[in-house]
């Protein structure tokens, strides 16, 4: 039995209460979710939920089957079964105590391709996009200045598309993706 993190996507019909059904299923069967995000997709009437769960493979497989049983659930994907890209968005408010801090924080933000989206005399708000390791690292960097508040969306994910020679998209794509977001 291997215990690992699974990033799962659930495509659902936009019906009243569909999120309640998913949440109730998690609660009822004792599945512990680390993060959850929901939004509409490009297809009208469809939404996608992405969540992260750590568990034994058999346990997660059972969860997948139970989700699939919900009438409004169209598709369940366990991204951990194949290559995928994932991102999360974080907004983080950091205290500014003196002008030197401000300069240093701007430099760190640049290194992380983070954007400053709100500037006040005593604080800056950064927008950071990336994988979890990156957002974690950014928090660590900011800790010394004094983190006042933060919010993370939790992960969203998509499977990679196989390229013509049969291999999936290269790791370099990650950088391109990040850069385009930063721009």
């Amino acid at each position: 039995m291997s215990v690992r993190r699974h990033v799962m996507s659930v495509t659902v019909r936009d019906q009243p209460g569909v999120l309640v059904r998913i949440a109730a299923l998690f609660a009822r069967r004792g599945y512990n979710i680390e993060s959850l995000s929901v939004a509409q997709t490009h297809e009208p009437g469809m939404s996608r939920t992405t969540f992260v769960v750590t568990g034994e493979d058999a346990h997660v497989e059972q969860m997948q089957k139970q989700l699939q049983k919900l009438i409004d659930v169209i598709k369940v994907i366990d991204h951990s079964e194949g290559p995928y890209v994932d991102r999360e968005l974080m907004l983080i408010k950091v205290a500014v105590r003196n002008p030197d801090d401000r300069v240093e924080m701007r430099q760190i933000a640049q290194d992380f391709r983070a954007r400053i989206i709100d500037v006040a005399r005593n604080a800056l708000v950064f927008e950071v996009t990336g994988d979890e390791a990156k957002t974690d690292a950014f928090i660590e960097q900011m800790r010394n200045f004094g983190v006042l508040d933060l919010i993370r969306t939790g992960r969203v994910a998509l499977p990679r598309t196989a390229s013509r020679n049969g291999t999936s998209g290269a790791a370099a794509d990650d950088r391109t993706a990040s850069r385009s977001r930063v721009a």
């Binding site: 659902v12 019909r13 009243p16 209460g17 309640v20 059904r21 109730a24 009822r28 058999a58 497989e61 059972q62 089957k65 139970q66 699939q68 049983k69 919900l70 009438i71 409004d72 659930v73 169209i74 598709k75």
Partner: protein, 563 residues
């Protein structure tokens, strides 16, 4: 036409002829429309009974059971019935009224969040906000309830939606892109199953509630292969309990033979069952040497508890014939020798050296009906005795709350079964505790003069709880004594206009039972039985099925007493 009439029209188009229900404020437009409808409405005396009756109506006939209730308390009273149907995979459509849309969410009089409350105990549910959606929603509700793994579906209809003008088409498209049950089994998996079965030396077939739809297919498979058959509580009747190849019920109160077979077999074909904890006992000790072939229509049941080596997802009516085709007679001579030896050493037995006992009452009912009736049960000791001593021989004739274990199920279930299969005698085996949980339904039995014989095995106790207290709680009998305040059941039946009898001895029992059965009219027989009888064999909760307590017989044999 208004929304209420559209609801009834949609039901009619689904072939509904009978509905069990109870009116109230928020469902009055539907009851008004009922006045002009050909659908027969059976007025139960408590909404819970309506849900149980609808559940049993499905179990007895295979036709979706329908119940009505009003908003708030009416709908919440359905919850136990829906949960019972959900656990036992029974196709029920419940239609509830709700307060008008403008009042939803305002804590209005008799308002409850019914779709919220019933969400975890239904296969699906709907709150209809637009009268134009009614035909589609009801068509989907019936489709979901009866297809795949059957289950209850609730449709909540606000009062103003019932009153709104309806002009529309009933020829609707079902729009369920996320719901496509797998019916046809995978050919490769079926071939693998056949190979595993052929390779086995000591196989058993274990059939559950899912096999109630596939009794013919089960019969063909077992006749060809000669495989021994174990029937779970829910599978009783799907294979004849009296057949030579039957080993009886497995699990907590299963037969010695069935449990020994599970422990010693090298292959189990599980067909239409979910390896419930009452069947498996301690999982790590369950069938330790067996290859598990698991056939079920619900993929989520496969490897949920017992790891399946050969999973086959599909309808038994598709999978079993295809599997049978790949097989021939199996050579099971040695295995049968062993099984027959166990059967001979551990027949059903009980001692009659005391006052009347529950087992002999139930055995008497079995003998006098020949198992040729519908049996419904309440929940408790009498249920286990009936499963062992009164298993029926035809599918859809054994109706008992297995998964949820709902006391109060048996009497309303008898009503549902009687409407589903007119002309059949229905025997409701009950205890003095559980019969009182829906005793008000005697009125419904009387009104429709249903051929239901209610047999109460009355030990003046909550017998199963008493048994556990005796065995596992140091004989501290906490709150199980009923005898000092039970009603006179015969008089109670008479008060409802039903023939009632109190029986204290075996001679009267033997004389009365055939007499009452022959009358084919409502009757209640209260058999006053020995209070301290226990159900044996028993696998204590949490123990392995190989750790059975065999009971009196074992003790007698140790003392050298022959039974």
């Amino acid at each position: 036409m208004n929304g209420a009439a559209a609801v009834l029209k949609a039901l009619e188009r689904q072939g509904v002829t009978t509905v069990f229900g109870y009116p109230g404020g928020a469902i009055m437009p539907i009851y008004d429309a009922l006045y002009d409808s050909p659908i027969q409405h059976v007025l139960v005396r408590h909404e819970q009974a309506g849900a149980h009756a609808a559940d049993a109506y499905y179990r007895a006939s295979g036709r979706v059971g329908v119940c009505f209730a009003t908003s708030g308390p009416g709908a919440t009273n359905l919850v136990t019935g829906l949960a019972t149907a959900y656990m036992d995979s029974s196709a029920v459509v419940a239609v509830t009224g709700n307060v008008p849309l403008s009042l939803i969410g305002t804590d209005a009089f008799q308002e409850a969040d019914v779709t919220g409350v019933t969400l975890p105990v239904t296969k699906h549910n709907y709150l209809v906000k637009d009268v134009r959606d009614l035909p589609r929603v009801l068509a989907e509700a019936f489709h979901i309830a009866r297809s795949g793994r059957p289950g209850p579906v609730l449709v909540d209809v606000p009062k103003d939606v019932q009153q709104a003008a309806f002009e529309g088409d009933f020829d609707v498209e079902i729009d369920l892109p996320g719901y496509r049950p797998t019916v046809v089994g995978n050919a490769r998996q079926i071939r693998r199953a056949a190979e595993a079965i052929e390779a086995a030396e000591r196989p058993v077939l274990m059939v559950g509630g899912g096999a109630q739809v596939a009794a013919d297919e089960v019969e063909a498979f077992t006749r060809l292969t000669g495989i021994p058959v174990i029937t779970t509580l829910m599978g009783i009747g799907a294979y004849p309990g009296g057949a030579a190849q039957s080993l009886g019920m497995p699990g907590m109160h299963g037969t010695v033979t069935a449990n020994r077979a599970v422990s010693h077999c090298d292959l189990i074909v599980g067909a239409g069952l979910r390896f419930d904890d009452r069947v498996t006992g301690k999982l790590s000790r369950f069938a330790p040497n067996a290859t598990i072939v698991h056939i079920d229509i619900d993929p989520a049941e496969i490897s949920k508890l017992v790891k399946a080596h050969v999973p086959v997802v599909g309808d038994l009516r598709d999978v079993l014939p295809r599997l049978t085709e790949l097989l021939g007679p199996l050579e099971l001579g040695d295995w049968w020798k062993q099984l027959d030896a166990w059967k001979a050493s551990y027949p059903e037995r009980y001692k009659t050296d005391k006052p009347l006992v529950s087992q002999e009452v139930i055995a008497l009912l079995a003998k006098e009906t020949g198992g040729d009736c519908i049996v419904t049960t309440e929940v408790g000791q009498h249920q286990m005795f009936a499963a062992r001593l009164f298993p029926t021989n035809r599918p859809r004739t054994w109706i008992s709350s297995g998964g949820l274990g709902t006391m109060g199920f048996g009497l309303p279930a008898a009503i549902g079964a009687a409407f589903a299969r007119p002309g059949e005698t229905v025997v409701c085996v009950a205890g003095d505790g559980s019969i009182q949980m829906n005793i008000q339904e005697l009125a419904t039995v009387y009104k429709h003069q249903l051929p239901i014989v209610i047999a109460i095995t009355n030990n003046g106790m909550l017998g199963m709880v008493r048994q556990w207290q005796e065995m596992f709680h140091a004989q501290r009998y906490s709150e199980v004594y009923l005898a000092d305040s039970n009603p006179d059941f015969a008089k109670l039946a008479e008060a409802y206009g039903i023939d009632g009898y109190n029986v204290f001895d075996r001679e009267t029992a033997a004389r009365l039972v055939p007499e009452v059965l022959a009358r084919k009219k409502p009757a209640l027989i209260n058999f006053v039985v020995y209070e301290s009888e226990k159900v044996f064999p028993m696998v204590p909760a949490g123990a392995g099925v190989d750790e059975m307590i065999i009971g009196d017989q074992e003790a007698d044999e140790a003392e050298g007493v022959s039974a």
